[in-house]
């Protein structure tokens, strides 16, 4: 399948997860997207899966305390906190938290599948008039593995100096140099792109394979998925 069609289906799956109201529907979409992500090499998918699953888990854990509903069965009653009010957990809050957590996880997994499995270059090429924006998105997507590699390198260089990084606070000290390094790399990349004629009028595109019937079918399928999710799921 061409990356354009695949991206369309992933976007539709993510949108459907946001629009659907039934928890089992969203769970099924999440599991399906997880299965797609597992096709990526284990070394590369680790950081994406961790990001998607930990974000969902965070919503599941925190959401019942931050949003209160008088409906459902009271499962736990805690103290009253100033500003937040009484802390309690009800079945309604838990179900809503699980739904939102699954939605967020599905969205994260859809992005992970896009980042891990699609040929971004062909997406850029297929973008036509929006090529610059597509290239910006592709470069931003590549930031995740670059940052991961830089973070590992920074931590290793500090350990190589005999300094131990302990706990979240220790690793947090590397955040600022990581961002500074990314900005420096972005500037160098912009310079290299300009030197290679980027932004010059009259550009052409290298020939790419045309869309197959299966690719063309992806368009109505994506639209149908969103419609069904919005109206019936």
């Amino acid at each position: 399948m061409s990356p354009g069609a695949a991206a369309l289906l992933l976007a539709a799956a993510g949108t459907a997860a946001l629009l659907a109201d039934r928890i089992w529907t969203v769970a099924a979409l999440t599991v399906m997207l997880l299965g797609v992500c597992l096709r990526a090499p284990s070394g590369r998918r680790r950081v994406y899966l961790f990001g998607a699953l930990s974000t969902g888990l965070g919503v599941l854990v925190l959401s019942p305390f931050l949003w209160s509903s008088p409906d459902g069965t009271l499962l736990w009653e805690g103290p009253t906190i100033p500003v937040l009010g009484p802390l309690d957990v009800t079945t309604t809050e838990l179900i809503a938290a699980a739904l939102n957590a699954l939605r967020l996880t599905a969205l994260g997994l859809a992005f992970a599948a896009y980042a891990l499995l699609l040929d971004h270059d062909r997406l850029v090429a297929a973008a036509g008039v929006a090529r610059r924006s597509a290239l910006a998105v592709a470069l931003a997507t590549r930031l995740v593995p670059s940052l991961e590699r830089d973070a590992v390198g920074l931590a290793e260089s500090v350990r190589g100096r005999g300094v131990r990084l302990e706990g979240a606070r220790g690793y947090a000290t590397l955040l600022s140099p990581l961002v500074a390094g990314s900005l420096e790399r972005a500037t160098s990349l912009a310079e290299a792109m300009e030197a290679r004629g980027f932004g010059r009028p009259g550009g052409t595109r290298a020939p790419r394979p045309p869309w197959s019937v299966r690719d063309r079918l992806a368009l109505p399928l994506a639209a149908l998925l969103i419609l069904v999710a919005a109206l019936w799921l």
Binding site: D119, H120, R161, T173, E184, L189
Partner: protein
């Protein structure tokens, strides 16, 4: 008519002393020019000026005139000069735009508006000329530094430029790959300006030599005249070797027994490697790109656990990676070095002075040039005086004079009863023992075995 005419060029980056001072030059079509000079002498700035990136991309004070193929670089943007001029920058990782190698090489051709049916054949020819056709469908993020450098050259060659600017293009290549790379440059037939710290190789290729120092043009001569001038004025540029004096073997400080490591199953990088390091000695690890030098160095430093075999270390180890950008985590150069000695500024100051960076103590580490960053990284690791100092490509980006200074410094360091292990492509770096790693062709695809 000259292809390049530089007339009275002076340039200063914002809030910085002049990087170029009144430089005048002219390059004829087909000339191969070796651009030599110490680190921070203005070579990169001169290349940027020839590509139009100075003053368009890098703001600053620009005076004089640069004309390339009849185009005044002040009036024409770098993107419009692309195709006439192609540049290969110092760090290959900072110039890769696309995800797949073939698309990366095609990127410039698409920008220039080359007819679509010509793009893939030109990509194929360019990759073939640098012996990188097998990388066609590979992901750029998975390539080694050396492979990436070849892809960057292919991207420049594909444009078939009249002027090719190369800023230390072989810094991450082993000698064999560097030869291949420069042979491809020679075949191009374009005017080439090559900034290179491996002077002997650059001189072999060059028809003309330009030497800059402190932003001033000190020499613009034919190769024969330049060799004579360099021998008299900068002898280390023509004879950079330092031999390590014989030292009696000290006690064993690190022992690796039967060490194996693989990044992917069935693709071992190291298999059954034995290595003993003794106090007082410098050991060089040599071998082609991808032969496992870095992996072995990281294992010896205790940063990576071998998947088989054992590592014993009697003392502390320090590790200097080949990317100096990884040593920029603090706000000042002094604080950066003091990190490894619990903030002891006196020791940090001495370590900085030892690598010639005493003047930069209060500067931000990111304000330093690439050569200065290399030295900062060395000071940041060596300040804690580890018993075993492991260095990965420490001469990358260093000019011949700095390389010799580094060699002498390493000898002093080892002579104080410590051991030094260096993974390097630089055959001029002094060592008491040289250990070769090779890619094992008899083993399963990609397997690497030490000898």
């Amino acid at each position: 008519m000259a292809l390049v005419a530089v007339d009275g060029l002076s340039f200063s980056y914002p809030s910085a002393p002049p990087a170029l001072r009144d430089v005048s030059l002219a390059f004829e079509p087909g000339e191969v020019v070796a651009l030599l000079g110490p680190s921070g002498s203005g070579k990169t700035t001169l290349l940027r000026a020839l590509a139009g990136l100075v003053p368009h991309f890098h703001g600053g004070r620009f005076a004089g005139r640069v004309v390339v193929a009849g185009l005044d670089t002040r009036r024409v943007r770098p993107a419009e000069l692309a195709g006439t001029v192609a540049t290969v920058f110092q760090d290959p990782e900072d110039q890769v735009v696309m995800t797949i190698v073939a698309n990366e090489v095609a990127f410039g051709l698409e920008n220039l508006g080359v007819a679509p049916h010509e793009i893939w054949p030109r990509v194929e020819r360019a990759l073939e000329s640098v012996d990188a056709l097998h990388l066609w469908g590979r992901r750029t993020i998975e390539l080694s530094g050396g492979e990436l450098q070849r892809v960057c050259l292919a991207s420049a060659l594909a444009l078939e430029p009249q002027l090719l600017l190369l800023d230390e293009p072989t810094s991450q290549l082993d000698p064999e790959a560097a030869e291949l790379f420069l042979a491809a440059v020679e075949r191009l037939g374009a005017t080439v300006v090559l900034s290179e710290h491996r002077v002997a190789r650059a001189l072999e290729l060059a028809t003309r030599v330009v030497f800059v120092d402190g932003g001033r043009l000190l020499l613009d001569a034919s190769r024969a005249e330049a060799v004579e001038w360099l021998s008299a004025e900068r002898p280390l540029y023509t004879n950079p070797s330092v031999t390590a004096p014989h030292v009696p073997a000290g006690a064993v400080i690190a022992a690796l027994r039967g060490v194996s490591y693989a990044y992917r199953a069935a693709m071992p990088v190291l298999e059954g490697v034995d290595l003993e390091l003794r106090r007082g000695e410098i050991v060089a690890l040599e071998g082609p790109n991808g032969s496992g030098k870095t992996t072995l160095a990281r294992i010896a430093a205790g940063l990576v656990e071998p998947q088989a075999g054992a590592v014993e270390l009697w003392g502390r180890a320090g590790y200097l990676s080949q990317d100096p950008g990884r040593y920029l985590v603090k706000e000042t150069v002094l604080a950066e070095v003091a990190l490894a000695v619990n903030g002891d500024q006196q020791r940090a100051g001495s370590a900085l002075a030892r690598v010639g960076l005493g003047w930069a103590a209060t500067r931000h580490p990111r304000d330093l040039s690439s050569g200065e960053r290399e030295r900062l990284a060395l000071a940041a690791v060596a300040v804690a005086e580890p018993d075993l100092l492991v260095l990965d490509e420490p001469t990358r980006g260093l000019d011949p004079e700095r390389k010799v200074a580094l060699g002498e410094w390493l000898q002093e360091y080892a002579a104080e009863g410590r051991a030094v292990l260096v993974a390097t492509h630089d055959q001029h770096l002094p060592a008491h023992r040289r250990i070769g790693l090779r890619v094992e062709t008899q083993a399963p695809a990609g397997a690497r075995v030490a000898v």
